[in-house]
């Protein structure tokens, strides 16, 4: 298992500072990007490609809080199933279904959709904080459970964005 924090020279921390991540990423690309290997022998260009893509993968994974949580759990050999609907806790299932219903109702009026979206964003922010706390206390079981919930919230938010985009497109 590749440790993406190591690749960027960062210490594993869910409450990652975005600016620090960006700085580490830019620094790593300044050393590895294929543009720096133009005109060099093939072996060096291949190596630049391999290193640079790995830096990109590490950055993309850590930038997004959901994939960051999944990666940190994977480093503990815990694999959160965020796709498909296997073994979903009944309470979570209820919450998701309610969210979905509200989204579908709101889709009929664009204004309400924005309200639901901002509410969901508040819930997602709280969920993110819960994950951060769980990692702080090395409570990986709690982190995994909340990450599964967070994944559903993110999915619902994406869906809301899509609905808003489609409403705008229909009016343009």
């Amino acid at each position: 298992m590749q440790n993406f924090f190591d690749i960027l020279g960062l210490s594993p921390d869910f409450a990652l500072d975005e600016k620090a991540l960006e700085k580490a990423y830019f620094g790593a690309q300044r050393k590895t990007h294929p543009d720096l290997a133009i005109g060099k022998p093939e072996a060096e260009r291949v190596e630049a490609f391999l290193k640079s893509q790995l830096v990109n993968e590490a950055y993309e994974t850590l930038k997004n809080p959901l994939s960051r949580a999944e990666h940190m759990l994977a480093l503990q050999n815990i694999f959160v199933n965020t796709e498909g609907q296997k073994n979903v806790a009944p309470v979570l299932l209820m919450e998701i279904m309610e969210l979905r219903e509200r989204l579908e109702e709101a889709a009929l009026s664009g204004v309400q959709l924005n309200t639901v979206l901002s509410e969901m964003k508040v819930i997602a922010t709280e969920s993110k904080q819960t994950i951060a706390n769980a990692f702080t206390f090395k409570n990986y079981k709690a982190a995994a459970d909340e990450t599964a919930r967070f994944a559903y919230l993110i999915k619902a938010i994406e869906e809301a964005h899509m609905l808003i985009y489609r409403l705008k497109a229909a009016h343009a």
Binding site: P34, F49, Q53, N56, A169, A172
Partner: protein, 595 residues
């Protein structure tokens, strides 16, 4: 960008280290520019007649070809053997244009334009020019990018890097102004629209997202004005000849440009007169500008940003000269657009700056993204995305697939580009077969598929069966006959149809998966029935009947549920069989021979 435009006379070589330095080329739909940079400041090179902006038109003569202003004049006169707007055909392998009795590809015509640009640069610099950075629309797909590289090769130019046009504009703008922070590049040309969001920080130019509309440009506004005029005169567009239509559109364009300065104006056409006011032109233009803002919305959402967080909006492309465009963009982003540079030259400047950085070394580093998702066709004609749009490049992603039939020895790898859920709605980049997979039960083979996307945005796909190490690889080359305009259409449709697509996809997936499960189970029982325990067969047969009934209906949850029941029932038997299979495969025998 005053002070930036310093033009070389032919034969003048003002730069140190000039012998090694590459040039920057903006190979545009309507016009092209070749430029060279020194210390991050770019300058356009003029042709013998003194033009820096070279019309992308080729006149194929009997003895020799002409490129540029004369060729465009010939095109406007309706002469034959003249080719313009060839960029729209890049990546379309079926396209041919007749000139002087020859059948030419888009790559050949573009190659002729590039040869001309190369000559301009060589005369201006007084030395051979063999290397260049060439710009392409952010929405150019894999085939169009490859075609651009091929055209450069025909012109004897080695492409150091293809860069996206809005990125190039950001590079030129950012280096000139030392801007820092998040900027939007709003590139509204004659035929296409591109929006890119970039993060500028200490010499790093990081593209956060890009979106666009390759079927939306100032030409659409000209056409709308023209049809208004015809309508007022009681004429029918269908009665116009091609030449008349070109003339009318050109006239409408002139009036549109004039109305940027004057309040009202009269347009004369075929003895009739139509009064055009500024308000009227604006009313006609609004829907088109609104569509550009829709792409801006998408790019912002992909970057996870809102309009208020953008530090500034850089305007690129001739259509941004319209006051209404500036006004609506300012309202959308809540800040005054940055328009103090020449929108026709800034892209070439960016290319030149990057060419300097790549050949002379510089503090500048460009981190770009791929504009379109890349994926594979899986069962039921569904696309599994491997690399998502707006992922930073270079990128390499590996994913494991498996066989879905017992004894399957080959696997089709169908590589697709686009945002839609179904393979038929995306663009095919390549199709090949991985052969020589050892025969095993379905699900036992492990096929590792890797997508490698280089810094030019060009893709290589490899497939390897992990048990045996059998591998195959393809470098993607122009393959299908779609125009690059289709690419943007695919993104737009992808968004608009996403919901119904997903619902349909889920049902199809459920049916396919369940159907497959049944045939797998039946085949397995037929082949290795000896491994069944007493009573297992009866229960399995009953569950298969229940599942088949569910497949006949439209209830996805029910199909999934019954399929799961079947899986659970078959589990222990499948495990016994899998263990036997793998040990047999490793010892070189077929599982079904030994049972």
């Amino acid at each position: 960008m005053t002070g930036l435009i310093q033009i070389y006379e032919p034969g003048e070589t003002p730069l140190p280290h000039a012998d090694a330095q590459a040039v920057g080329i903006d190979l545009g739909t309507t016009h092209s520019v070749v430029a060279i940079a020194s210390n991050g400041i770019a300058e356009a090179m003029h042709d013998a007649e003194g033009y820096a902006i070279i019309p992308s038109v080729v006149h194929y003569g009997e003895a020799y070809n002409t490129v540029g202003a004369d060729a465009r004049a010939a095109l406007a006169e309706g002469e034959s053997n003249v080719v313009g707007s060839i960029k729209r055909q890049m990546g379309n392998p079926g396209y041919r244009v007749e000139a002087q009795g020859r059948s030419l590809t888009a790559v050949q015509v573009s190659g002729d334009i590039l040869k001309h640009l190369r000559r301009i640069a060589e005369e201006a610099l007084g030395r051979p020019v063999t290397r260049a950075v060439i710009t392409v629309p952010a929405y150019f797909d894999d085939a169009a990018r490859n075609a651009t590289k091929a055209a450069a090769a025909e012109a004897g130019i080695d492409v150091l890097r293809l860069i996206n046009e809005p990125t190039a504009a950001a590079l030129a703008y950012g280096l000139q102004t030392q801007a820092q922070g998040v900027y939007a590049i709003y590139d509204f040309g004659g035929g296409t629209f591109d929006i890119s969001i970039l993060n500028l920080e200490g010499g790093i130019f990081q593209v956060l997202s890009t979106a666009g509309d390759t079927q939306l440009g100032g030409d659409d506004i000209d056409a709308a004005i023209a049809s208004y005029v015809l309508n007022e005169l009681g004429m029918n567009a269908a009665d116009l000849t091609d030449r008349e239509r070109n003339k009318l559109h050109a006239l409408a364009r002139l009036k549109k440009e004039k109305l940027s300065e004057e309040a009202d104006i009269t347009m004369r056409w075929k003895g009739g007169e139509v009064a055009l006011t500024k308000q009227l032109i604006e009313r006609v233009s609004v829907p088109f500008i609104k569509r550009t803002l829709l792409s801006c919305d998408q790019a912002l959402a992909d970057a996870g940003l809102t309009p208020g967080t953008i530090g500034g909006v850089v305007l690129v492309g001739g259509s941004t000269r319209m006051p209404l465009v500036k006004k609506m963009v300012a309202e959308f982003f809540g800040s005054k657009p940055l328009d103090e540079h020449d929108p026709d030259l800034v892209v070439a400047y960016g290319a030149a700056v990057q060419a300097e950085a790549l050949t002379q070394g510089a503090n500048t580093l460009l981190l770009d993204v791929t504009p379109l998702s890349l994926g594979l066709e899986t069962y039921g004609g569904i696309v599994e995305k491997i690399i998502y749009r707006n992922s930073p490049i270079p990128a390499a992603v590996a994913q494991e697939f498996t066989t879905y039939q017992d004894g399957q020895t080959a696997m089709k790898i169908h590589v697709l580009q686009g945002e839609r859920e179904k393979a038929v709605d995306c663009r095919t980049l390549a199709e090949f077969e991985l052969r020589g997979i050892p025969p095993m039960v379905a699900g036992a083979a492990r096929i590792n598929v890797t997508f490698s996307l280089d810094a030019d945005g060009l893709l290589t796909v490899g497939a390897q069966e992990l048990l045996t190490g059998i591998a195959q690889q393809v470098v993607i080359t122009p393959a299908s006959g779609l125009e690059f305009e289709d690419v943007e259409r695919m993104v737009t449709e992808g968004n608009e149809n996403a919901r119904s697509d997903i619902i349909e996809r889920l049902l199809i997936e459920a049916r396919v998966e369940a159907g497959r499960a049944i045939s797998d189970v039946e085949a397995a029982i037929k082949a290795s029935g000896a491994l069944l325990k007493p009573g297992e067969d009866v229960m399995i047969a009953a569950q298969i009947a229940t599942l088949q009934k569910a497949i006949g209906g439209d209830n996805r949850d029910r199909i999934d549920h019954e399929a799961k029941q079947l899986n659970a029932l078959v589990g222990p038997f499948a495990e016994r069989r899998m263990n036997a299979s793998i040990s047999q495969a490793l010892s070189g025998k077929n599982v079904d021979d030994v049972n």
